[in-house]
């Protein structure tokens, strides 16, 4: 028996009024425009965060590699996608961007289908158009990093559509797609939960015999989860153990409320800060908007027509998703960019399900369509602002990778290419602070593994000529990487000095000199001092090599590497110094 206010599920679909235009063709136009916009905005990007790990750490095809959790996610489908792309096209191709855009359009198309059945074509069109440029989730829609999440969402949306067929074929397809969703990213879980609720509470056939539609994928996922507990993480990026604590459980209501607020902000575009031309996620308007959404929900339940039982499934999905975010480690805050994509989709689907049997007056429909399309503007702008930052970061990454390749065998195998809080000021990563770019510590991979992956798939790094032509901050990053890889420093002289040139300065003085292949030695007379700094590709002498005290002599020997470019040195000294060949 249906519960109070709930009715047995119908397969009703909102049909357009007679004479109303079908916006499907317009959606295709919007898709073409969105594809062009996104391909343009993602130009100049390279791999980011997880993708570096897929490139360098997830090597081989054994089950322990493919099924190894990435930050507690089962991501075998995206890992296989990346492996295929790396093998066929290399890591620097446009293929990843094309796949990202294709997945984005697929999600939008499937979302459109689900929305149209509930709220009609025009609102569905506007919502799908917004979804394609949902800049609040710029890490997902504006970078190939989003492949895993969008693969899972596409499978999840496809599963919901398949379930709505209400036949055995639909069930089988839904089951396979749910497996695909769960094997792509943990955002597949809420879709599986939603599917389970749909099967249990709705549907035209006896439900007991359909448990496997969602049960089998969830069972497989559970088995994988238990099995994967014994696996060691593949690299520092992949290591992010789930940390469900009592504190996290205690803050569940708050976190869910925050997630709801953030989803509303993403949909309305009200997360932008006036006058700030960088990507930000201001939650100022979140709480009142969340309260307004809850008030609208209460109003809908009390005043509107009886709800279809399917609403339970569509309510379960965002709740499951936000609860999952709340329960894992506390550094995964609800306002993080990658959570906005799923949050917005699931909230819009719930809203559409609630509005299924509500008569939407044409004026209100026009207002909703206008609001969603207007919201696309700040969201698209956020993709633009985010892409600027990602391109800057890519220039740094590619320069650092070039330095690793130049240093060759001399780089310690386990040297992290970009350690957190490392050679630059990486304490405030730009992507999350919204401020000016400081190089992001996204390439947390071992240099040795990187070099091995380059040998297998090709290089994403700058060539030396590209490095020479790159911006000053990228060349400085390459110098810093070389310094970390080679560790140039002054050591006691090992033999007699020759070809000495003497300099004397009563006060502070500086000398700039190229470092010859054999190195350079510095002798300082008693009472003086000399400090040596180096550069190679950068404009400034940013690599400290050491200080020579008065009355002593030290030498610098630089190993040969993959570049013929000479090192430059700057000697800041006082007193009498001699620069010699060692």
């Amino acid at each position: 028996m249906p519960g109070p206010g709930l009715t047995e599920s119908q397969t009703s679909e909102r049909l357009p009024p007679r004479g109303e235009a079908d916006p499907t063709r317009l959606l295709v136009v919007a898709m073409v425009l969105a594809a062009g916009f996104l391909l343009w905005e993602t130009r100049g990007q390279t791999m980011l965060f997880d993708e570096w790990s897929f490139f360098a750490d997830y090597r081989g095809h054994s089950p322990s590699i493919l099924l190894n959790p990435f930050g507690d996610n089962l991501e075998i489908v995206p890992i296989l996608i990346y492996k295929t792309v790396f093998a066929l096209f290399g890591p620097a191709s446009i293929a990843l961007r094309l796949i990202t855009v294709a997945l984005n359009l697929t999600c939008a198309g499937l979302f459109y289908v689900l929305m149209r059945r509930r709220v009609g074509g025009w609102i569905a069109f506007a919502a799908a158009s917004l979804l394609m440029v949902l800049g609040a989730a710029a890490d997902v829609v504006g970078a190939s990093l989003g492949i895993a999440i969008m693969t899972a969402v596409a499978c999840g949306l496809g599963a919901l559509i398949a379930l709505e067929r209400g036949d055995q074929r639909g069930d089988r397809i839904a089951c396979l797609l749910l497996i695909g969703a769960l094997a792509s990213n943990s955002i597949g879980l809420p879709f599986a939960v939603g599917a389970a609720v749909l099967v249990v509470f709705s549907g035209p056939r006896p439900r007991a015999g359909r448990w496997w539609v969602a049960g089998a994928p969830l069972l497989l996922y559970g088995i994988w989860r238990l099995w994967s507990l014994h696996l060691d993480p593949l690299g520092p990026l992949a290591a992010h153990p789930t940390d469900i604590t009592l504190a996290n459980i205690g803050t569940l209501p708050t976190s869910i409320a925050d997630s709801l607020a953030d989803a509303v902000l993403s949909i309305t575009g009200l997360y932008t800060q006036p006058g700030i031309a960088a990507r930000t996620f201001s939650t100022d308007f979140g709480p009142p908007l969340a309260v307004a959404v809850v008030a609208a929900l209460v109003l809908r339940i009390r005043r509107g027509p009886a709800l279809d039982r399917r609403v339970l499934a569509y309510a379960a999905m965002p709740l499951a998703y936000w609860a999952a975010i709340a329960l894992v480690a506390s550094d995964r805050t609800p306002s993080v960019s990658r959570y906005q994509y799923g949050g917005a989709i699931l909230l819009l689907l719930l809203s559409a399900e609630l509005a299924r049997d509500v008569r939407i007056a044409p004026r209100l429909q026009a207002a909703i369509v206008a609001a969603l399309l207007i919201s696309a503007a700040p969201n698209a702008y956020n993709i633009h602002a985010s892409s600027e930052l990602l391109r800057q970061n890519a220039r740094m990454d590619r320069a650092e990778m070039a330095a690793i390749e130049i240093a060759g065998d001399r780089v310690p195998y386990d040297l992290l290419v970009e350690p957190i809080g490392g050679r630059f000021d990486r304490s405030t990563p730009a992507l999350f602070s919204g401020g000016q770019l400081t190089p992001l510590s996204d390439a947390l991979i071992a240099a040795g593994r990187y070099r091995s992956a380059v040998a297998a798939f090709g290089s994403p790094a700058y060539s030396e000529s590209e490095l020479d032509a790159s911006p000053a901050e990228a060349r400085a990053a390459a110098d810093a990487e070389l310094a970390a890889a080679l560790g140039p420093h002054l050591v006691p002289v090992s033999g007699p000095l020759r070809d000495c040139h003497r300099r004397t300065s009563a006060g502070p003085g500086t000398i700039e000199l190229p470092v010859p292949p054999g190195g350079v030695a510095i002798r300082v007379a008693a009472g003086g001092t000399a400090t040596l700094s180096l550069r190679r590709f950068g404009d400034s002498y940013s690599i400290p090599a050491g200080t020579v005290a008065g009355g002593s002599a030290l030498e610098l020997r630089l190993p040969a590497d993959g570049s013929s470019r000479a090192w430059g040195a700057q000697l800041a000294y006082s007193g009498r110094v001699e620069v010699c060949a060692p």
């Binding site: 932008t272 006036p274 031309a277 100022d284 307004a292 008030a295 207002a367 700040p378």
Partner: protein, 553 residues
């Protein structure tokens, strides 16, 4: 579009207006010109069209420029009272016009509540703290008058509307929001007839467009790509700021001050948006007069204009933007609830709500006027110092108040000394008479000392070898470092020491607040101080860690 009529309400409005006028005049006692008003006095040196039409931060402000020049010519700049009276008059006029518009919709008594709030709208302290608000009040009054004229629906009304719209646009950019309201009025109000009346709007807008094209060479607007794309966020922030201002929830509950807090305003903004959506699209939506779109269009246009041209001093919550926003929001609400009748309980709720809204606004009026009185006092002290130095000695390019980024004292006199002297050559100026300065409070005298040192460009320079070193005093600090204060002989002094770390001067103030750069060690340095119209002597203070010799110049 009818409301309850009751002649007693007008008497009540008159009483509130009298109270508002008295309060505003009393609060602004001893104030002087502030911020953009200085620009009217100094930055518009003649009556040529090129000068009067010159944009101010991208705004056409020809009408207030003419007004200020006329007022200054008639009353002089030494008397601020005429400006204060005009400002209060415009507040009353604007409120009266607002009342006329809203009483037609919600009745005499309900309309009294928002009108009363607008009369004391302290959240918008740049408008209600003093006559700086003349510009915005004039533009709003003209715009409201235009709406009233349009509602007449006859030729005389149309002619009046065209003139008032032109005046509003020529006064401040908020006039454009009224123009959009007028466009919607003609579009939704009377069908085909509306197009025949299009000249009412077209003429002022064409004139504005011509001005805009002409003024493009001056720049000043900064419409940004990112600002336009993120308009929803800035419009929402503007709405939140206005809602905070109307509700009186903008004050910091712990610290006094003029900063606007919009946390509560965001809640009210979402509530307002919900009310608007419910009234427009809810079950009763069809019953709402189509003219409501006029009152939807005006605030959205206004906030979009603000949001498209953001800058460090042009944020959505800037206090000068709040008055216009509040007028538009209150007009929208009264239009949405046109025809509403209240019972006794309803009026009681309305009275309590009004009292709640007034509390914060009245407190802000008090704080703003206090701040502006102090600031005005300091401004007049600085100008007195400038005039004591005289046009012959002061660098014409000296910025009267340098922009240091400090909040207090506010650097609102951002003009150069040369144009100031030109503007008031032979005319009464806002400065104090020199004899008045010693009687002002210490903070004013300190500002005067600092300004005088800047005006004379006092700084130690190497003393000529021929400088007479008679009647010198030697000071050996113990313990070190130590300070020695002394009266400066006419003409200045020379100073020599191995470790002088600071030299400071005072004249009108009790505090050595005007600091000079310390001289190099061991070198005799001259601090030459020119004579001026004040007989008061200078005092100096030297801070040193080694013996120092000080001699009259």
């Amino acid at each position: 579009m009818t409301g309850e009529r009751d002649p007693r309400a007008r008497w009540a409005l008159a009483a509130v207006m009298v109270a508002a006028a008295a309060l505003l005049l009393w609060l602004t006692r001893t104030e002087t010109f502030f911020a953009d008003e200085w620009n009217f006095l100094v930055g518009y040196p003649d009556w040529s069209p090129g000068t009067l039409l010159h944009p101010n931060s991208g705004n056409l402000i020809a009408a207030p420029a003419v007004l200020y020049k006329t007022m200054t010519a008639v009353f002089g700049a030494d008397d601020y009272l005429p400006f204060r009276l005009l400002w209060v008059g415009l507040d009353l006029l604007s409120a009266g016009l607002f009342y006329s518009l809203t009483r037609r919709r919600v009745g005499d008594w309900i309309a009294l509540a928002p009108t009363t709030l607008l009369l004391f709208f302290g959240a918008s302290w740049e408008v209600f703290g003093g006559p700086l608000g003349i510009t915005i009040l004039m533009a709003v009054a003209a715009g409201l008058g235009m709406l009233l004229c349009l509602e007449r629906g006859d030729r005389a009304g149309d002619a009046g509307a065209a003139v008032l719209l032109a005046l509003s646009i020529a006064t401040y950019t908020i006039g454009l929001a009224f123009a959009v309201g007028a466009v919607v009025e003609l579009a939704v109000g009377r069908g085909r007839e509306g197009w025949r009346r299009a000249w009412v709007i077209a003429a002022p807008l064409l004139l504005y467009g011509a001005w805009r094209a002409w003024a493009a060479k001056y720049g000043g607007t900064d419409v940004g790509f990112s600002d336009v794309l993120t308009l929803p966020g800035s419009v929402a922030n503007s709405m939140a700021a206005v809602c905070a201002a109307i509700s009186g929830s903008f004050r910091d509950p712990v610290n006094s001050g003029l900063a606007l807090h919009t946390e509560g305003g965001r809640v009210f903004a979402v509530l307002l948006a919900g009310i608007v959506v419910w009234r427009l699209f809810g079950p009763a939506g069809r019953a709402v007069d189509r003219r409501v779109w006029i009152f939807v269009a005006m605030p959205l246009t206004y906030w979009a204009l603000i949001g498209a041209n953001l800058g460090p001093l042009r944020t959505p919550d800037a206090s000068r933007y709040l008055y216009g926003g509040a007028v538009f929001v209150l007009l929208l609400l009264t239009q949405l609830y046109a025809g509403t009748r209240l019972g006794r309980r309803g009026y009681a709720v309305l009275a309590v709500a009004l009292a709640f809204c007034l509390l914060g606004n009245l407190a802000n009026l008090r704080d703003a006027s206090r701040f502006l009185r102090d600031n005005g006092d300091e401004n007049r002290g600085e100008l007195t110092a400038l005039e004591l130095a005289g046009p012959g000695r002061v660098d014409r390019n000296l910025l009267v108040e340098p922009l240091t980024g400090a909040i207090t004292p506010l650097e609102d006199m951002a003009f150069f000394a040369g144009p100031y002297f030109d503007a008031f050559a032979g005319e009464p100026s806002p400065a104090y008479p020199p004899a008045e300065l010693p009687r002002r409070p210490e903070h004013v005298r300190v500002r005067a000392d600092i300004e005088l040192v800047r005006a004379f460009a006092l700084t130690p320079v190497p003393a000529p070898p021929t400088a007479a070193l008679g009647a010198c005093l030697t000071f050996a600090p113990n313990p070190v470092p130590g300070t020695r204060a002394f009266r400066v002989a006419p003409g200045g002094f020379t100073v020599r020491g191995a470790a002088i770390t600071g030299i400071a001067l005072r004249r009108f103030g009790d505090e050595f607040a005007a600091t000079l750069s310390p001289p190099p060690p061991g070198q005799a340095e001259l601090v030459a101080i020119p004579a001026d119209r004040s007989p008061l002597p200078w005092y100096a203070q030297v801070t040193t860690s080694a013996p120092v010799t000080i001699c009259p110049a």
